[in-house]
Every structure is written in structure tokens, then in C-alpha cells.
Symmetry: C2
């Protein structure tokens, strides 16, 4: 097993069977000790954060498997905070696909002239480039297509899958009286047919969730959802 990539919150190992092992770390994105799902830096380290993130990821990826949604998930080992996944190729150097149910965060920073903080949005999808140096810029379908990052057919699948997956997660949270405001997903191409599948993780670090109008921190969310 060979370490091939060290990420902000996960390390990636290549396995001898051709699959990969993701090791969830206790580092969380943010700044100066404050968690921020959109941040490009590690802001804090919390013991047990990796394991908690993996528990939630396992729950959601197994739920998606039951619903017939393609993902890279094979299985996981909670004790070791590792998840075994299929190999995937990224779109370009990676995209983040955001689905919004309420207007908060970067949406308001960009479109605050036309939207009120917290106003409902109907599964609104937008794509940003993973590019720390350029602050993850938003990118249109036309630009994605023109720059050869994905085809128009792939964009349509990506958008449809994003809406489907985000609504499944929203419904799961709603069962515990929690409201999903927005969520950030990553996709890749998997297998010989290069079908589009959800990759990376789905944990508190990928979403903004609220209960009774109050924001829930990722670790708190994981406690509320996994028991």
C-alpha cells in the first residue's frame, strides 16, 4: 500500500488490487480554529473528526448504493478511519458541484443584490473549479464544455445526479428535524465505461445544516445523525 496523495482532510493510498484507500484525518478546513466548509486551508484539528466524518460518509454512501446511485464506495473500516474506493478519473483537475436549498455563503456574497440571506432556492446547482490559487472560481456549462473539462452530455448527468443525491441527503436530515441549506459534491469517471459517479466523502464538512434556525457544527451533525 503506497501513499500517493496527502490532502487537507484525507490521505490517499493505492492498493495492490487497483483500488484506493482513503484515510480520514482529524484535520478540518477553516481558518484560525473556526470551521468553514468552503475554506481552502486546514483551520483546526479535532480528535475523532476523521472517524466521525467516515461514519456519516458510510451511512450516506450505503444509502445511495441502495438507491442505485453510482459512487466510488466499496467498504470501510471505522476503527482505522479508512474507506476503500474504486479508482476514478477527475474532470480536469477536479470540480466541486454545489446544490443549494437556501441562499447562504458564497451565493449571497455574489448574488446578494438579488437574493436575501436564507431565502429558499429550489435545488439550485452550480459548479466551481478546484483551484485554491484562484479561490475556486464558479464556471458555466459553456466554459466547462469549451475548456474540454466535460462534455454537454456529462454536464447534464452531473447536474441531474447532484439534484437527486442532494435531495436524498436532504430527506435523510429532515427525518431528524434537520434542514439542509447547501451541500458540496465531487464526481469522477469510473470503470471502463467511464460512468459518472459520486466520489470523495459526504460528511458534515461538505454541507451546511440547520436545526431550529441554528447552524449545526459538523461534529454535532454527525452525533445527531449517526446513532
Amino acid at each position: 500500500m503506497k501513499l500517493i496523495y496527502q490532502g487537507k482532510t484525507k490521505d490517499v493510498y493505492q492498493l495492490e488490487d487497483g483500488n484506493y484507500l482513503l484515510k480520514f484525518k482529524d484535520d478540518m478546513t477553516g481558518e484560525n480554529g473556526v470551521f468553514d466548509p468552503g475554506a481552502n486551508t486546514v483551520g483546526l484539528t479535532v480528535e475523532g473528526a476523521g472517524k466521525a466524518g467516515l461514519k456519516l460518509t458510510k451511512m450516506f454512501f450505503e444509502k445511495l448504493r441502495d438507491e442505485g446511485i453510482p459512487t466510488h464506495y466499496i467498504d470501510c473500516n471505522i476503527e482505522e478511519a479508512t474507506m476503500k474506493v474504486k479508482p476514478a478519473t477527475l474532470f480536469g483537475n477536479g470540480l466541486e458541484v454545489i446544490c443549494r436549498f437556501r441562499a447562504v455563503g458564497s451565493f449571497i456574497r455574489r448574488y446578494g443584490m438579488y437574493a436575501k440571506e436564507g431565502q429558499p432556492l429550489d435545488s439550485f446547482v452550480e459548479v466551481t473549479l478546484k483551484d485554491d490559487a484562484r479561490q475556486d472560481p464558479p464556471i458555466s456549462e459553456d466554459a466547462l464544455h469549451m475548456l474540454g473539462i466535460l462534455t454537454r452530455e456529462e454536464y447534464k448527468i452531473l447536474k441531474d445526479l447532484t439534484i437527486k443525491i442532494s435531495n436524498i441527503i436532504k430527506d435523510e436530515l429532515a427525518k431528524k428535524g434537520i434542514e439542509l441549506y447547501d451541500i458540496k459534491l465531487e464526481f469522477g469517471r469510473i470503470g471502463e465505461d467511464k460512468h459518472i459517479a459520486l466520489i470523495d466523502e459526504i460528511s458534515g464538512g461538505n454541507m451546511r445544516a440547520y436545526k431550529d434556525g441554528k447552524y449545526i457544527e459538523p461534529l454535532e451533525l454527525e452525533k445527531l445523525l449517526v446513532n
Copy 2:
């Protein structure tokens, strides 16, 4: 005649016949005395800049009229640096529609991971909100539609008109050996049928033009094109 709006480079007067008069000023956008077509501040004042901008605008709007493209243009008075236009309503508080033939400026600042400075782009269209406080953020068709700024049908017309108009201007410049890299247009709804028409101006301040690989300043461009 009543002054109703003072812009960075133009003032707007309402006429008694229901039309409007645009007075072109000698102020140009930029910072610290350096012209920048994308800037949100007045950076310099050059005697004759208003008149030169109007001459080019007149030339292009009359060319577009000959080609059957809808615009707000009625006529103009070069001596007084004024242009008479039809009343138009904006999309939201105003959009800028950019057509790119080569990758420069904000395109490279956002998508430099995937594009090289100066690489050819095939009439690539993008839309930004006119919102100085939020640095004119780019916005997708989905967001424009969702926020009620324009309909999907209007977006299609806007995009098609932008490609058509930009290529007419590109061809005009090419006749003098000048290459158009990008151009910024504004549109509004005109008349009882609310048809989409080009508004504002088309001058050196709206575009980046190059000759023999060298950038041409707006006033120089106006000299080269209007004789």
C-alpha cells in the same frame, strides 16, 4: 430636458418626447490614470474622449442598424457629444454580456488553470451582474433564470445577439488589420413588445483590440477606425 442619472462615463437626460439623451463625458474607467475597460472607477479624464467614443458608437450602431440588429440608437450629435436613444428597461439592475475571441483579463484570472493567455476562444459568451460592490460577479443561465433576471428564452436571444454583434464588430476591426480579443455589451428590453436590443455604447472602452500583437488604447483605436 431633465438629468436623471450621472454615470461614470455618461450622463443620462430624459427628453420630452419620451426618449433619452446620453451625454458622453471625457472620463474613462480605470485606476490611477491607467485605462481598464473592466474597472468600476473613473481612472482618468482625457479631453475629447467622450466625442471619440461617440464617433465609434455612431459608426457601429449605424452598421448594426443596416444589418437589421435591434438597438436603442436613434441619432446623435457629435459636436455636443450626445446620442438620442429609445427608452429601455434593464434586466434586473443591469447585466454585462462579454464575448471573448481570445483568453485575456478576467477569463485568465478565473480559468488560468485550463487556458493560456491569449489562446483563441470561439465567440465565448459569459454574463456578469453590474454590481460594483460585489465586483461584477459572473452568473450562470440557471441563476439568471432562477433569480428572475431574465427568462430562458431571453437568455438564448441575448446570447445569439451577442455572438452576432460581436462578430460584426470583429469583422469591421479586421478590415483595418485590428484583432478583437473581447468585447462587453449591454442589452435592454425596448418597445411595447419588449424586444431585446443592444443599449449603451460601443467604443474603445468596451473592448480589447490588438494590432500586430500590441494592445491598442481606446483613443488610438478610435483614430484608427474613424477618419
